[in-house]
C-alpha cells in the first residue's frame, strides 16, 4: 500500500473511532489497524534514502544512471 493511501486510511479510522456507534470489539480492531498503518507510514519515511543521480546516455541509446557530482 502506498504512503498516501495508508495515511488516508488512518485518518478514516480515527473518524470512525470518534463516531459513537462503534462497539468496543470493533474499536479495538480499528485501533490495531490504525497502529499498523501509522507504523507503515513511518517505515516508508525511514526507508527512503538520499540519492542524487544523473542520466548518462550510452551509444545504444539506453539510459545509464550514475551518481551526480555537481560541477563548481
Amino acid at each position: 500500500m502506498g504512503f498516501e493511501e495508508s495515511l488516508k486510511k488512518l485518518e478514516k479510522i480515527i473518524d470512525d473511532l470518534h463516531s459513537e456507534k462503534i462497539s468496543l470489539e470493533k474499536s479495538i480492531e480499528k485501533f490495531e489497524e490504525g497502529v499498523k498503518l501509522a507504523d507503515h507510514c513511518l517505515k516508508t519515511l525511514d526507508g527512503m534514502r538520499k540519492k542524487i543521480e544523473v542520466v548518462a546516455k550510452t551509444k545504444d541509446g539506453k539510459l545509464k544512471i550514475k551518481p551526480f557530482e555537481e560541477k563548481a
Binding site: 497502529v35 534514502r49 542524487i52 543521480e53 544523473v54
Partner: protein
Amino acid sequence: MPKILTISELTHDLKEVLENIFQDVWVEGEVSNLRSPGSGHSYFSLKDAQSTLRCVLFRHAAVRLKFALADGLHVVASGRIGVYGRDGQYQLYVDTVQPKGAGALQTAFEQLKARLAQEGLFDEARKKPLPFLPETIGVVTSPTGAVIRDILQVLERRFPRAHVVINPVRVQGEGSAEEIARAVEEFNAWGQPDVIILARGGGSLEDLWSFNEERLARAIAASGIPVVSAVGHETDYTIADFVADKRAPTPSAAAEMVMPAETELREHIDQLVKHLWRSLVDVVPQQSQHIDDLCEEMRRALQNRFEEKRLEVDGFCRELEALNPLAILRRGYSVTMAEDGRTAIRHTGQLKTGDRLKTRLAKGEFLSRVEEILA
C-alpha cells in the same frame, strides 16, 4: 517600321529589366489566397487596398519561419521579383517574412497556443495529480548552474533523503527543444520517476524558445508521468507551462511543490497516532488513566524517533505491541460490558441486580449475573 518582338522576346526583356531592378525588395501587405500544397512551397498574395502582389515562398525559406503564414496576417516580406514567362506574371520570390507589429516569435507563440488550446491540450481535465510522496524525482535541466543547485537545495531542506535523477539537457539553442522532449520521453520509457520537473532559469523570449516549441509540448502531453514546468521567472509563461500538469513560478517552487516537508509529515502522523489513542480512551474509560500514561509513553517514544535520523523501526513495533489494549487485558484487566457487548459498564449506576453482563478477558469472554450491588 518598329521592330516587332515575339512574346518570348518581350518577356525576356521585361524579365531582364524587372529582375535587375528589384533584386532586393521589402514589401508590406496582408496575406490572402494562401495555398500550401504537399511540395512544402507556399503560394499567396500580398495585398493592400488597391493592389495585389503574387508571392512564392519556397520550402527552404518556409521551414525557417518561426510562425505559420495565415490569410489575413499583416506581414513584411523580403525577396526578389521574378517574371514567370509562361503565365506572363511577375511575382515576389520570398526570402523572409516577419509579422508586422508583433515579433515573429510572439506571433508563433500565440498561434501555437491557440492551436493547442483548440486541441484541448491545456484542459484541466487531462492534467494529472502530483504524487503525494514521490519516490523518485526526475529533473530535466542543465546539469550546471543555479537552477539545479536551487532545486537540490530546496529538496535537501524539505526531505533530506530524497531520490533525484537528473537528465541533463541544453536548455537553449538549436535542437534543445528536441533534447528536452527526448529527456521527458526517456524518463517515461524508463518508468522510474513518479514526477518530472522541467526547469530553466530566466531569459529573453528567444532564450526560453525551446519551451515554446510544439515538439516539446507534444512530449509533455504524451507523458504518463506528471510534469511540473518551472521555466524562467514568475512572469514568464511558455507553452510548456500550459501543457504541463502543474506550473511552478520558479525552479525552487517546483521542488517545494513536488516534495512534502518531512517534519510536517511526521508531525501529522504523530498527531494521528495521538488521536488514535484518545479515541480508545473514550471507548475504554475504566482504564483511561492507564491509557493516558501509555499515550504519554508512546509520544515520548515517537519523539525520540524523530530526533534520530535512521532509527530502526523494529523497536517501535515492539513498543506498539506492548501498548496494545489487548496487552492490557493480558496483564489481568478485563472489560465489563452490557450483555449486548456495546455499552461498557463504568459505574454501578448502570446496573441493577439480576442484569446479565458480558466480560472480556485477554482470552475469551463470559456472561455473568449481578447478584448484589455493593457500592
